[in-house]
Amino acid sequence: MYENLIKEFEDSLNDEVFETISFNFAKKELEESKNNLRFLIGIPGTGKSFLLTHFYPDTPILSSTLTKEDIDKNLNQELIIIDEAQMLDNSLIEYIRTLADTKKYTFILSMHLTEAKKILQKEHFKSRTIDIIELKPITKQEMIQYINVKLLKNNANHLFSKKEFNKIYKYTKGNFRYIKKFVKTLFELLDFAVSNNIQKHSKINSCLITMTAIKLGLENE
């Protein structure tokens, strides 16, 4: 019964763009930046990879498992994007920095907020001007808007009350990935309850939301 909605909230990089204020701001900064070394930072699940995929669809995004040779292979292009850059070792970061100093190549390093702060504290980054673009978690209103848009697409609006939205936001804390995962799991539970004729949970209620939070490990038992 809720299969469409479950599919709708599946986490995928091919998802449609949902433009939040923070997303637009980061996009604009990436556009306008003229620095050869750019840091895209944010807590996990805020949509850094999603932003890079959608903003630079033709540029290959290198993963954190890359080596010096992999970088050298990609030196034929001006822009090099590295996702999860917090996993790179110091020698590699230093190599990227020297390449960026030549002004021939532009690097965009996407990394987690806490690790990025540690890397930026290092001496060779302190003395340089680096563009730091932060992607912030979405607000409650943006989350409500996002869910409602998805529900409207499937003619399933008015499934959530304000109280339930508040609860979901309390658990997910504006983390985009968690929101999608949470709503998907919630619909899976609802689907099970409806298909098994469990009258008590035939509609979305606070117990179903708590059950989802327990399942995702967002609620301490």
């Binding site: 899976e188 539970l189 689907d191 099970f192 309850a193 098994n196 469990i198 949970h201 117990c207 708590t210 059950m211 327990i214 399942k215 609620e219 038992e221």
Partner: protein, 234 residues
């Protein structure tokens, strides 16, 4: 979704835990409020009451606890001494400023008796005994008199009688004198005075007193009393 029912069970458990948590916080809050109210509305301790000017009201004695009246009597007497000292001071001041002493007020007389009571250990013990016998009634009266600071003839006579009944003849004489100052025509006071004198071994004085009264007034009862005294003397 095989874990649906397990999740449901965990959800219920969680709800129960939360309920216990919030209700215990609520209970604690109520207890705290209760304790706060108790301390705010707590009556003043007995010690502070004694430091105030007000003379204490006689407290009801508990017949099941025989030791309690004794304690109460002691407290009263202590308070009375405080009041008495003040009164005596006032009295002395009045006497110095005024050459002719005013008619003695009862409160002063009571104070004097109380001072004697407290200074003399024998009399103190006697007074305690007396209070046991009369269930602290004289003290009740005395304290009430102290509060009012006025006395009627009847009150003085009653006190004199009480003292006489309790074999405290000296105090009885004092109250008789006071009563006679208020009204010296009443033969009851003269009779009681004479009886007191007799008990204290002053029969001569008692005869004189009765004769003086009978010079001016006629009283059959006093005449008989005089006759008895004279017969006993002979």
């Amino acid at each position: 979704m095989s874990d649906f029912f397990e999740l449901e069970r965990k959800c219920k458990q969680l709800k129960r835990k939360k309920l216990i948590k919030y209700s215990s916080i609520f209970l604690l809050f109520i207890i705290l409020i209760g304790v706060a109210i108790y301390f705010i509305t707590k009556p003043q301790p007995l010690k502070s009451l004694h430091t105030t000017k007000i003379t204490p009201k006689p407290q009801p004695t508990n017949p099941t606890k025989p030791t309690k009246p004794k304690v109460i009597v002691k407290i009263k007497e202590k308070n009375i001494t405080k009041v008495v000292v003040k009164k005596v001071k006032v009295f002395i001041e009045k006497n110095i400023t005024k050459p002719t002493p005013p008619a003695p007020t009862l409160s002063l007389d009571i104070n004097l008796t109380k001072i004697q009571k407290i200074d003399n250990p024998k009399q103190k013990a006697k007074a305690e005994l007396k209070t046991k016998k009369t269930n602290t009634q004289p003290i009740k009266k005395q304290t009430s008199i102290l509060q009012n600071e006025t006395i009627t003839f009847n009150k003085a006579l009653t006190l004199a009688k009480k003292y006489y009944e309790n074999a405290d003849y000296e105090n009885s004489i004092k109250w008789c004198k006071l009563a006679s100052k208020i009204d010296n025509n009443d033969e009851r006071v003269w009779k009681l005075y004479a009886l007191n004198l007799e008990k204290t071994g002053q029969k001569e004085k008692a005869i004189k007193l009765l004769k003086t009264y009978l010079k001016y007034k006629n009283s059959l009862e006093l005449k008989y009393l005089l006759q008895r005294f004279e017969n006993e003397k002979n």
